[in-house]
Amino acid sequence: MNNEIYDVIILGAGPAGLAAGIYASRAKLSTLIINEGAVGGQLTLTEEIANYPGVETTSGYQLVTTMKKQAQEFGCKIKSNRTITRFQLEGAVKSITVNDTETFQGRTVILATGGTPRMLGIPGEQEFKGRGVSYCATCDGDFFNGKEIVVVGGGNSALEEAVTLTKHASKVTIVHQFDQFQAFEYAIEEAKANPKIEFIMESELRAIVGADTVEKIEIEHLPTGNKSELKTDGIFVFIGYVPNTEKVKDVVMVNERGEILVDPEMKTNTPGVFGAGDSIQKRYRQVTTAVADGTIAALSASAYLRQ
């Protein structure tokens, strides 16, 4: 057991966690960020950020690197790639155990655990990951030069990445489960105007089939239940995120989707425990909103400590 009791322990080092770390440590609160993966979370998966106010077009990695540096310069400690194995969030002093070996104590905890890209969960997905199944167009697009591929999803990421992939692929087929897209209008218009893109609506993938690499997919048309096959060389999956709240859902209140319930001050139902970023219930999930959540959570934690 580490004897130091931190003022604020933040779980998660995406934009929400890093913003909370910047605000808490700048307020002279002893602050520790514990992260289960790489610093930056989903933001590192974003090739280009063009709409972050005050910052000209940059990469997610660069923005994260700057945020991390800012937090550390204010004195925030960051421990990444740790596995949280136990925690106790009730009472005046809360404790977090990582890797079953180290325990950290804090007077407040901010849950900024973010989300994980949603998987299709169908036969063949795991088997062909890196052999035709991909989750990053900018990373893997050039493996599909001149090939025919499928993009799954109907949000901004799916449509924007489908357009990006037309630079490589000879044909991109977007498969979406609903009869309309959830993306912003500009993204829909751009995809529909691209002659290399075709659409299969109200349909879901049921299986990915191949030998060494992906060869075809099985699709079900949802209104009729009719199943068909489509030859393809690759599948890019952009179907949203699931909140990383499995470990805390029995400790703080979550909704039916597992998102943490918070009030406007980012307070959960457990005193001294706050939520921020993509792990909480909210409508708009942007870097800017995550940063705002983290800021509010840190300020609320500071106010809680003064009580």
Partner: protein, 115 residues
């Protein structure tokens, strides 16, 4: 050509050959500074302290000399960055394509690159 990580960088094919021949257990991540690769480099940096018997390194995917990994028979059919190679006594013990979690890396290290 060099990646911006804190790992040992393998620049040439000779570097690569020497590194896997001189060390019993080796993990090499061959990628770019992109979203699927960066989490793997960071996980490797964190794991270096816990796996002293394993040597960790990276190699830039677009470096001409990275053909030793890009064209390795074990990487046939790979279509996702990074290409990750695990060597035991100079021979490929395992290879994988695309992003990995620290847990997935540990699982391979614990089973394929034992002391």
């Amino acid at each position: 050509m060099q990646l911006q990580t804190n790992l040992k960088h393998l620049i040439t094919a000779d570097d690569h050959k020497k590194f896997i021949e001189e060390n019993e257990n080796v993990m090499v991540c061959c990628g770019r500074m992109g979203p699927m690769c960066i989490p793997v480099y960071e996980a490797m940096e964190e794991l270096e302290d816990d796996y002293k018997h394993i040597k960790f390194a990276d190699m830039a995917f677009d470096s001409p000399d990275a053909h030793v990994i890009r064209n390795a028979p074990e990487c046939k059919g790979f279509m996702g960055l990074p290409f990750v190679m695990y060597y035991k006594n100079g021979k490929v013990a395992h290879a994988s394509s695309s992003i990995l979690t620290p847990q997935q890396i540990k699982a391979v290290l614990d089973s394929k690159l034992t002391k």
